[in-house]
């Protein structure tokens, strides 16, 4: 069904990824309309439960993005996030959620193009899963 909207929740840290998404906007980089960004101060603020809750509430995909390792505004938040989220990602198949529906990645404030690319690729990946199942 081509008309089906893919709804993605994105948890983006205020300092890097959210600013990167803004940057993509400033550069007028067109993106799929299904992304819904929730701003958080740090990717370390993203409790894996937020991701699971998103799936439970019907999200087709969840994306978490923060500063690149080493660049965390708070020093170590993204390292902590990485540990939690990596585990979460690997748990998903056992929970009955296709792992392709979840992605975490790092985007800096200047990487607008990278952000737009991520949204595009991720949306496509989810569409593939939806069609495959």
């Amino acid at each position: 069904m081509p008309g089906k909207d893919v709804k993605i929740v994105g948890f983006l840290c205020n300092w890097c990824a959210y600013a990167g998404a803004d940057m993509a906007g400033m550069a007028r980089m067109e993106q799929p309309a299904g992304m819904r960004i929730i701003r958080v101060p740090c990717s370390g603020r993203v409790d894996p439960l937020l991701v699971l809750k998103a799936f439970q509430e019907g999200a087709d995909g969840v994306l978490v993005s923060g500063c690149h390792p080493g660049d965390c505004h708070y020093g170590s938040g993204n390292y902590l996030a990485r540990r939690r989220l990596e585990l979460l990602g690997r748990m998903l198949p056992a929970l009955g959620i296709e792992p392709e529906r979840f992605h975490y990645t790092w985007v800096s404030a200047s990487e607008g193009a990278r952000w737009a690319e991520i949204v595009n690729t991720f949306t496509e990946a989810i569409k593939d899963v939806d069609e495959g199942s």
Partner: protein
């Protein structure tokens, strides 16, 4: 009661998002008593409209759909405050950067905008008024780096009566500027304008100078940084040394002369340079015979002041500071690795402009006579190569060093002044002479001093019959050029100072992709670093010339004075808070907190719970995500608020 304002942002938003339709949809949302679309919400009339609606409809919380909150959140918070509301009873919806600007289809973009507004309306129901606290600020500033930027900043801050500690890594302040001969475009002597400032630092009542010192550890935050400064052992008692240099004279162990860019040798114990401040000797253990198995104690024996102490150890000094200025300057790009066709540094007469600066200087190794390193001969033909390690993608260095064009022109002029029958050739890509009187200066080098400017890159440099052949293209003439020169001067690019990255990490501030420290906003917050209370001065933030450095140092000083003059700081209320009745006392929050902001609290009934030290909390929310019972919440980003957003956006 809720008010929703949809900004048209001129046509920035309204061209793609039907703002009227979004306002109409918002008006139908639960609890929304007022919804309107405004042309420019951030403008005076826009903010006035918010105030009017607050009064008329007795709104107690406001949703504003406009640009990114990173742009105008602070603006609208102030607007709310003026309207008599708590500034945190506001939620921004980003329908510009993250909606109108990235979607082409009006229907789709409008639907998304409505979704986003709904999400914010759901979230703001969970908002509570927040009140920032006040905390005492330590009235002392730390300036890191004793170059012209640090010197200027230290003097300006102390002029306002705020004590300053100036920390310099090397044995003397002065930095790169002290090594320069003359400065463009006025050709005044660098030392002549710098040394008086250096002396003023030394003599200033409010400035504590620490040389041979580095920042070891940084704790705390704006208003109260606790900083450990390591003073390296120099084996010389600074209080006793008179700078007589007898030790340097008699010392048998050679050591590189850092001040003279490695053009000559100094001694293991030495004074950095004759105008050094403080004028004291320091011993470099790695070159000293005594510290390398020898028995030499000459310096100690000969020192008339008895200042030499081989047992001296590193000393760590801890101080509290209200603010920090980073002024670590720049380093020189090591070109030898990336330009194999320039001889990899094996030809002694291919030197960098920094070295040439020392050859020009009266205080340099040649006493101001230009003598080429290989044979000491006076060069007749001097070739200057611009942009070595600048504006060169193939070397992985696309950035402009911003001063190369100007100092190369300056060095050509000075060459002619030193050796009137010399000829200078300047290979350049573009002449960048944007400053005041700069273009005139470059023209003077061309017309009055006869320097020949060749537009093009140099491909190869190789020796031939006692000369160096510089081969390049003249892109204006479309020809290959070959210059036979006695001396080749490379305008090597500028890098972040060695160790700047490590310092940035300690200060918890970011560096950009070129390694220079990053400012908070390129236009609006050019001297503020990402961490509150840390400011940037001079070339540590990016290559710049002396006037720009001094201007930025002044700006950083003004920011420090502004911050510390009142003696207290307003703290952000967006910090974590513990609900003790929900706390299980497991202290996972304390384990994950990067700032040590969690303490134990014993309640009256003996229960042990976590407590947030608000002055240390920086609002990252890592504890919030780690707290199993949800007892600790980050104000402004509580679980309740995020879940409200999440659930609403998926309906």
């Amino acid at each position: 009661m809720l008010g929703v304002f949809i900004c048209q942002c001129g046509t920035n938003i309204s061209a793609t998002v039907d703002t009227g339709a979004v306002a109409a949809a918002a008006a139908g949302m639960r609890g929304v008593a007022h919804a309107e679309s405004i042309q420019y919400t951030c403008s005076d009339p826009g903010q006035a409209a918010i105030g009017a609606a607050v009064r008329e409809k007795r709104l107690d919380r406001i949703v504003i759909a406009a640009c990114s909150p990173r742009m105008h959140e602070a603006t609208f918070r102030r607007a709310l405050e003026r309207a008599g509301l708590n500034p945190y009873m506001m939620e921004m919806v980003n329908i510009r950067e993250q909606c109108s600007w990235i979607h082409a289809d009006t229907g789709e973009a409008t639907m998304k905008a409505v979704d986003l507004v709904r999400k914010a309306v759901a979230r703001i129901r969970a908002h509570v008024p927040l009140q920032g606290g006040k905390t005492a600020a330590v009235r002392r500033a730390l300036v890191i780096g004793g170059g012209i930027a640090g010197i200027r900043a230290a003097l300006d801050i102390s002029a306002a009566g705020i004590p300053v500690t100036l920390v310099e890594k090397s044995p003397s302040i002065g930095g790169n500027m002290a090594r320069l001969d003359k400065t463009f475009p006025t050709l005044d002597c660098s030392s002549c304008i710098l040394t008086p400032l250096m002396v003023e630092i030394k003599q200033h009542d409010h400035i504590e100078l620490m040389t041979n010192a580095e920042v070891d550890d940084v704790r705390g935050l704006v208003g109260d940084f606790q900083i450990d400064i390591r003073r390296r052992s120099t084996c010389v008692d600074e209080e006793k040394c008179t700078g007589c240099m007898i030790c340097q004279e008699k010392c048998p162990a050679p050591a590189p002369d850092d001040f003279n860019a490695g053009l000559c040798q100094s001694k293991a114990i030495s004074v950095a340079f004759p105008q050094a401040v403080p004028l004291v000797a320091s011993l470099r253990k790695q070159y000293c015979r005594r510290f390398n198995g020898g028995k030499c104690r000459l310096c100690q024996k000969l020192c008339p002041a008895g200042a030499v102490d081989y047992g001296q150890e590193d000393e760590v000094v801890s101080r509290s500071f209200g603010a920090v200025v980073a002024a670590t300057g720049y380093g020189h790009y090591d070109w030898t690795g990336s330009y194999p066709t320039f001889g990899k540094g094996l030809y002694p007469d291919v030197i960098t402009s920094a070295q040439y600066e020392r050859l020009l200087s009266a205080s340099g190794p040649t006493g101001g006579l230009i003598r080429r390193p290989s044979d000491g001969a006076e060069p007749r033909q001097v070739a200057f190569v611009s942009c070595v390690g600048s504006r060169d993608e193939s070397a992985g260095r696309p950035q402009c060093c911003s001063v190369g064009c100007m100092y190369t022109a300056k060095q050509a002029i000075l060459t002619k002044e030193h050796i009137p029958d010399s000829q200078s050739y300047i290979f350049y890509i573009d002449m960048r002479a944007g400053g005041k009187n700069y273009e005139e200066f470059v023209r003077r080098a061309q017309t009055r001093y006869g320097a020949i400017f060749i537009r093009g890159r140099v491909g190869r440099i190789f020796p031939r019959r006692g000369k160096l052949v510089v081969m390049g293209t003249d892109t204006l003439a479309g020809d290959q050029v070959e210059i036979e020169a006695d001396l080749v001067v490379l305008a090597a690019g500028l890098t972040a100072a060695p160790g700047a990255g490590e310092l940035a990490r300690k200060l918890n501030i970011a560096c950009d992709e070129t390694g220079f420290m990053a400012e908070e906003h390129p236009k609006l917050r050019p001297v503020e670093a990402a961490a509150a209370g840390v400011f940037l001065a001079g070339a540590c933030q990016g290559p710049k010339d002396i006037p720009a450095t001094v201007a930025q140092a002044g700006a950083a000083a003004a920011k420090v004075i502004g911050l510390l003059s009142r003696g207290e700081l307003e703290t952000s209320p967006m910090v974590s808070a513990v609900n003790p009745s929900r706390c299980a006392g497991c202290f996972k929050c304390r384990d994950v907190c990067p700032f040590g902001a969690i303490d134990k609290d014993r309640l009256a009934d003996g229960l042990v719970t976590a407590r947030v030290i608000e002055s240390l909390c920086r609002g990252c929310g890592i504890c919030n995500a780690a707290c199993p019972p949800g007892a600790i919440s980050l104000n402004g980003y509580t679980d309740k608020q995020l879940l409200a957003e999440l659930v609403e956006v998926l309906r």
